[in-house]
Symmetry: C2
Subunit: 429 residues, 2 copies
């Protein structure tokens, strides 16, 4: 048993003083004014729940600073995807492991204690699934908690035929062969093999269909159903690009989100990544099912996706996605700032008390934990003992008060204000 006390502790709504956190077996047993002897006094520190990065492709960290030249004129998500495919074709297992370890290490320095790794680059060759275990190893080495969101990727694009031919997807080509799930059965066989790596706490699994581009409606249906049966969360990329919506409408007569809703299985365990161009009516139904969106402001800006309308998208979690930059603080402020630019007004994500910072911190902690199906993201009894310690002497925070610290951090600081992180009761410094 360890009792922690920082100068300030985040309650989910505000920073409070004189709070003690009792930790046992990597979990929080109690939090509050406990009157216990303090084992670890974190001086000049404020304690936040560890950030939860709900959507990452760690290997894409290798593209940082690449794919940022446009010799043939303006680029797009699709020209960037070509650069990503080139990387995929060239990556050796050693490079793959190294870039994943590096990305996860950078995440911890950015206050991230759990990553939801949306993993679709499976094979070195011939459906060998050699890279799946490497991602888990990389996370262990970096000391980050991982939910391996293991992706089903079966088709190279939505069927090119007319309406009703949608179930016939395009064949995988080139780099995409490294993503392949041959069949739903093959997918679950590999999930069963990966199950041995799960230790309940540090490594967990989740189910992913990459996108409506990568699977037929039938396959999405059975995968979502089986995930639910197994108690696994379900994630999917959706409506990041208008072209995907157009192609889906052409093939199925439905927008991607309508197609998903048509399956009729969305629930609290479902997280839909991006929803950049989702119709407000569709989104209202998604929210009614208790499913949620995951937004990735830095990546969506870098890729020129556009700005989702959070008035309809609702409370979301956050992901560092392409890892072109890894900064949950920058993701948080630009989640709000994107809406300010879109609406030309301030305070877009304000809560009932009119505050913005608690909503943004919630996106980076609680909502991410919900999306990954883990009891984390809160400094509360029963939650994983994952924390970020904020350096109250960081010059970028100077001028803070108990009331303004959260907004000062979210608007004004970056990784220099993060003193340390803790995963399951273990501090990194």
């Amino acid at each position: 048993m360890t009792v922690l006390q920082a100068d300030l502790t985040w309650t989910g709504r505000r920073f409070a003083r004189n709070q003690q956190v009792r930790i046992e077996d990597g979990r929080i047993q109690a939090m509050g004014k406990l009157g216990l002897e303090v084992d670890v006094r974190l001086e000049r520190r404020a304690l936040l729940p560890g950030f939860v990065n709900a959507h990452s492709h760690a290997f894409q960290r290798a593209l940082r600073g690449r794919g940022e030249t446009f010799p043939n004129g303006r680029g797009s998500f699709w020209t960037w995807r070509e650069a990503m495919y080139q990387l995929v074709e060239s990556l050796t297992w050693k490079e793959f492991k190294s870039v994943c370890t590096h990305a996860f290490t950078e995440m911890r320095a950015a206050g991230i204690t759990t990553v939801g790794e949306f993993h679709y680059l499976h094979h070195l060759r011939d459906d060998d699934y050699a890279l799946d275990a490497l991602v888990i190893e990389a996370a262990r080495e970096a000391g980050i908690r991982i939910v391996l969101l293991n992706a089903y990727y079966n088709t190279g694009g939505i069927g090119a035929g007319g309406a009703g031919v949608g179930s016939i997807g395009q064949p995988l080509t080139g780099a995409q062969l490294r993503f392949r799930s041959k069949s739903v059965d093959a997918y679950w066989k590999q999930m069963d093999r990966l199950d041995d790596a799960v230790d309940g706490d540090l490594v967990r699994l989740g189910t992913v269909v990459h996108s409506v581009r990568a699977a037929s409606k039938g396959d999405i249906t059975v995968l979502h159903r089986e995930a639910k049966k197994r108690g696994l969360v379900f994630h999917m990329h959706i409506e990041e690009q208008k072209l995907e919506i157009e192609q889906c409408e052409r093939a199925y007569g439905l927008r991607p989100m309508q197609l998903l809703l048509d399956i009729g299985e969305l629930d609290f365990g479902t997280t839909l990544v991006h929803c950049t161009h989702t119709d407000p009516g569709d989104m209202a139904v998604v929210r009614g099912c208790k499913a949620r969106a995951c937004l990735c402001p830095l990546t969506e800006a870098n890729l020129g996706d556009g700005l989702a309308d959070l008035a309809s998208v609702g409370p979301s979690c956050l992901g560092t996605d392409s890892n072109a930059r890894i900064s949950m603080l920058e993701e948080m402020r630009w989640l709000e700032y994107g809406q300010r630019l879109r609406r030309m007004e301030r305070g877009a994500l304000r809560d009932e008390a009119g505050e913005v910072a608690p909503s943004l911190l919630r996106a980076a902690t609680e909502t991410g934990a919900d999306a990954l199906g883990i009891k984390a993201g809160r400094i509360e009894e029963g939650c994983l003992a994952d924390f970020v310690a904020i350096d109250l002497d960081a010059p970028t925070l100077s001028g803070w008060t108990d009331e303004t610290l959260a907004a000062t951090l979210v608007c004004g600081a970056a990784e220099e204000a993060i003193a340390d992180t803790c995963v399951g009761g273990q501090w990194s410094a």
Copy 2:
């Protein structure tokens, strides 16, 4: 004489190896493969010109994390201005000096070697101009080069009357009295007094009219003309908010930019801050005069101003403005990212070679120096010896090559990658 050599040196277009920089009397005397003995070998460093922050209100650093709650519902630039006015009314000279020194120190840590301080908070009481000297002192203490862009602020708003009554501005009230220039004569008298503080190198002056809200058309005309005569740069806030445009049209029958163009004096020495909602036709005329815009992406997002269209605004300089966050690297990437979000395509600010990073670095260096009328922002003969040294071992830069370093830095890093800064040949570390 000192000869510097880093691993990589920025030429304005790319990073080159084996470059030596010869410095004498705080200026660069030569740059290139000089074949000289190296005095200072900067190992594992890349050398950039010091960043030029072309638009700052240092005292607003005190608002960081404040004015981010919205108990009465959504906020706007105008509700934020009320919070800023409250700060203005309460600031003592000691607090003012302290917050300015802190902001300038934070700027140096962010790679900024020159600040254009758009200074309008002049008085402690009764037109005493007590705060002007304090800003200069604060800059000296922080070791930052300053161009004091000293502001004329004479009216509290554009005249409320009908068209043609525009020259009768509203009286200053409350906090605004601390900004007051009683008359154009009083303004130049104070500029003459400040001239004693100018040392040609570390402290210079520039002329400012705060905005069309703060001065009549007649006063803007004579101030711009006199600034030109004295060889001073001229800056003005313009068209950040649609309301300003509407009020100006009502009073003068002209948009603020049309009013400025009507004066007919815009030139290379003129910098127009924001231009968020400027009409493309007006902007084309501005560019034809060789005047430029200054954009402040972080502040314009924080304040919910909206996104300017850089296709019409053209090459701009950058400012940290409200200093809610001080990061030229974040400003640079969001200058490009804002356009990517606006146009839903990538590579908005690409140059002829299709590269984005050199354009963004130019905005943060050369164009800022042009806006402030100083020979800086370039590692070239005759320029001030102001540098940023980049830490090539920063984990956020890992994976860089000579070709990708600039984009890796601009897209993927923040202040942790800045090892040191140099002003006039003096390194801070």
